[in-house]
Each structure stands twice: as structure tokens, then as C-alpha cells.
């Protein structure tokens, strides 16, 4: 399987978002590493002879993602790393009672009242806009009726 095909396979699997998404990502990563190692070990076209070529081959094999330009896969790795960091430092996230959902807390009460206030303001503005549109529609209908009857609106 060529690196391009591997990339397409990863892309198709990621698009599915099925069960075992992360497991599939890890399996694909291992497959890419093995593919690169196999290519390096069987290749004899290196211009550098001897020990120097062998060391350079190992370095390149250790960077499979840069070699195949698999950007989607790098995104997966970032997600996994972020999840791992979040789980590790979860104790530092001191969420307030609003996030924890305590309905009797004063902050929860204040948040509810603030939401109601803003809803009232937004509702008033939306009602004004709807009333304006309705008024225009009525005026247009009145003007059309007047035009049909030959009157000046």
C-alpha cells in the first residue's frame, strides 16, 4: 500500500466516525510506520554509503507523518494529545456551580434571571421587527386595493 493510499484509507475511515475511531487511528499509524520501515530496509537507492546512510534512514523512518504528508492523521494525534492532557490536569478545572448544575445556588439563579432578561429584550426587538414587516405588508395591500379601485393611495 502506497502512502497516498494509506492517506485515503485514513480519510475514509475518519469520515465514517464509527465505533473504534481512535483504535482505527492507532492501527493506521502503526501501519504507516511499518510501511516506511519496510521501504527504508528494502531500498538500495540511497546516495549515501555505509553507516551514514543507515543512520539517516533510521531518522527518516522515525518521522513517517512528515514523510507521507498525512495532515488528517496529525489532526487525530493532536486530539488524542489534548484529551490526554485534559484527563491529566482535570483536577485544576475548578468549575463553578453553574457548570456543575446546582439549581439552588445563587449563581445559577442569577444566570437564569439574566437569560430571562436577555430573552425579554430579544423578544421585544424581534416583535418590533415583525410588527414593522406586518405594517408594511398591510400598507402594500391597502395601496394595491386603492390602485385597483382607481384611487390615489
Amino acid at each position: 500500500m502506497t502512502p497516498t493510499n494509506i492517506s485515503k484509507t485514513i480519510q475514509s475511515r475518519h469520515n465514517s466516525y464509527g465505533i473504534g475511531w481512535f483504535a482505527t487511528a492507532f492501527i493506521d499509524e502503526a501501519r504507516v510506520v511499518l510501511q516506511k520501515l519496510t521501504v527504508r530496509s528494502t531500498s538500495s537507492s540511497s546516495p549515501l554509503p555505509g553507516e551514514r546512510a543507515r543512520v539517516r534512514g533510521l531518522f527518516e523512518a522515525a518521522r513517517p507523518f512528515e514523510a507521507v504528508q498525512c495532515f488528517e492523521y496529525q489532526g487525530i494525534r493532536r486530539v488524542i494529545a489534548t484529551a490526554a492532557i485534559s484527563l491529566t490536569v482535570a483536577g485544576a478545572a475548578s468549575a463553578c456551580s453553574v457548570c456543575f448544575g446546582d439549581p439552588n445556588d445563587a449563581q445559577s439563579h442569577g444566570m437564569n434571571m439574566a437569560i430571562l432578561t436577555l430573552l425579554g429584550v430579544t423578544g421585544g426587538v424581534m416583535t418590533t421587527i415583525v410588527a414593522f414587516g406586518t405594517t408594511i405588508a398591510l400598507r402594500i395591500r391597502r395601496a394595491e386595493l386603492a390602485a385597483e379601485m382607481g384611487e390615489t393611495p
Binding site: A106, A114, I115, T117, L118, G120, V121, T122, G124, I140
Partner: protein, 197 residues
């Protein structure tokens, strides 16, 4: 005037000129803006264990004086609007001057009020009560300053427009009057929230 239709004449179906429609939309956005500020006030007040916060209270007497000046400015520009609608343009300049003076007085009173609070080591960081008051008062003061500039336009550069195109000038006076009426309503709500409720 100009090639844009309904810039001075009223459009028959909407009953509005372009400027009035734009002003109405602008004021609706301002309602949302002030609504966000008042919503923050409600949130902080409802979740506070002590309200108003301990410390130096906001001087009520100066608040009342600011409210009176705010209403005086709005009333003057409202009267100018009424005079313009009745084609009585003689006293518009005097009323605009009154609006500008009242607006300047409002700005000065709020500045003195805040200076008094600061001199007694009461700043926005003292409590959420003072923080939300400083925020709303300063934002409103900025709006009043814009209104004062508009009033100055009515009695200054706007006069040449009045001589050239009286209908366009009347439209602008209408828009400015709407803006000032909104400011008066917004400050009335602010006063009620901080001094009476």
C-alpha cells in the same frame, strides 16, 4: 436631492425615509446592546449575597440631577422635532443649544460623581455593584457625548442644510430626536436599577 430615492421624501408603503429606517435599525441594535448590559446587571445582582455592596454608595442626589438633565436634553430636542414638523423653525437653534448644554451638564455630573467615588477609594474593582455601575454610566456618557455633538450639528453646520433643503434637515432632526428619546429611556432604566429598585 440626490439620485437615491426616498432619501428625503417618505416612501409610501413604509412611511419612512432611508435615514429614519437606518436610525430605527441602529436604535434596535442599541436596545440589544443595553439589554446585554442590563442582563449582566441582573445576573450579578441575582447571584450576589449582598446588594448593594458594602462601601461607598452611589450618590443619589447627583443621580437625580443627572436624570433631570438627561430628560431636559431629550425634551428640548423633542420640542425641536415638533417645531420642525409644524414648519416652525425659529426656535430650533435655541432648543438645540439647550440640548447641548444639558448634555454637557449630564456628562459633567457623572464625571464628578465618579470622581467622588474614586476619591473615597471606590473604583470599579471594589465590587460587582460598582463595576456594573461604572460600566453602564461610562457607556451612557459616551452616548450622550455623541448626542451633544449631534445637537451642535443641528444648530451649526445643519443650518446651511436647512437653508438649502429644509426637508432633509427636518429628517435629520427627526433621527436625532429619536436617538435622544432612546437615551432618555435607557438612562431612566439605569437610574431605576441603581437608585430605586
Amino acid at each position: 436631492m440626490g439620485a437615491i430615492p426616498y432619501s428625503t421624501r417618505v416612501r409610501p408603503d413604509t412611511g419612512l425615509t432611508n435615514g429614519r429606517l437606518g436610525t430605527a435599525l441602529f436604535l434596535l441594535s442599541e436596545v440589544m446592546f443595553y439589554g446585554g448590559l442590563f442582563s449582566a446587571y441582573v445576573f450579578l445582582r441575582s447571584s450576589a449575597t449582598e446588594w448593594p455592596a458594602a462601601g461607598v454608595p452611589i450618590p443619589r442626589g447627583m443621580g437625580i440631577a443627572a436624570l433631570v438633565l438627561q430628560f431636559a436634553a431629550a425634551a428640548a430636542v423633542f420640542m425641536a422635532w415638533m417645531r420642525i414638523r409644524k414648519d416652525s423653525r425659529s426656535s430650533v437653534i435655541a432648543l438645540s443649544l439647550g440640548t447641548a448644554i444639558a448634555a454637557t451638564g449630564f456628562i459633567a455630573i457623572i464625571a464628578v460623581q465618579q470622581r467622588m467615588l474614586i476619591s473615597e477609594s471606590t473604583v470599579a474593582a471594589t465590587s460587582t455593584y460598582h463595576a456594573v455601575y461604572f460600566l453602564i454610566a461610562d457607556i451612557h456618557r459616551l452616548h450622550v457625548a455623541v448626542g451633544a455633538i449631534l445637537a451642535a450639528y443641528m444648530m451649526g453646520p445643519g443650518r446651511t442644510l436647512q437653508l438649502r433643503d429644509s426637508m432633509a434637515y427636518a429628517n435629520r432632526v427627526t433621527c436625532i430626536a429619536w436617538y435622544w428619546l432612546f437615551l432618555a429611556a435607557a438612562w431612566a432604566v439605569t437610574f431605576a436599577l441603581f437608585h430605586t429598585v
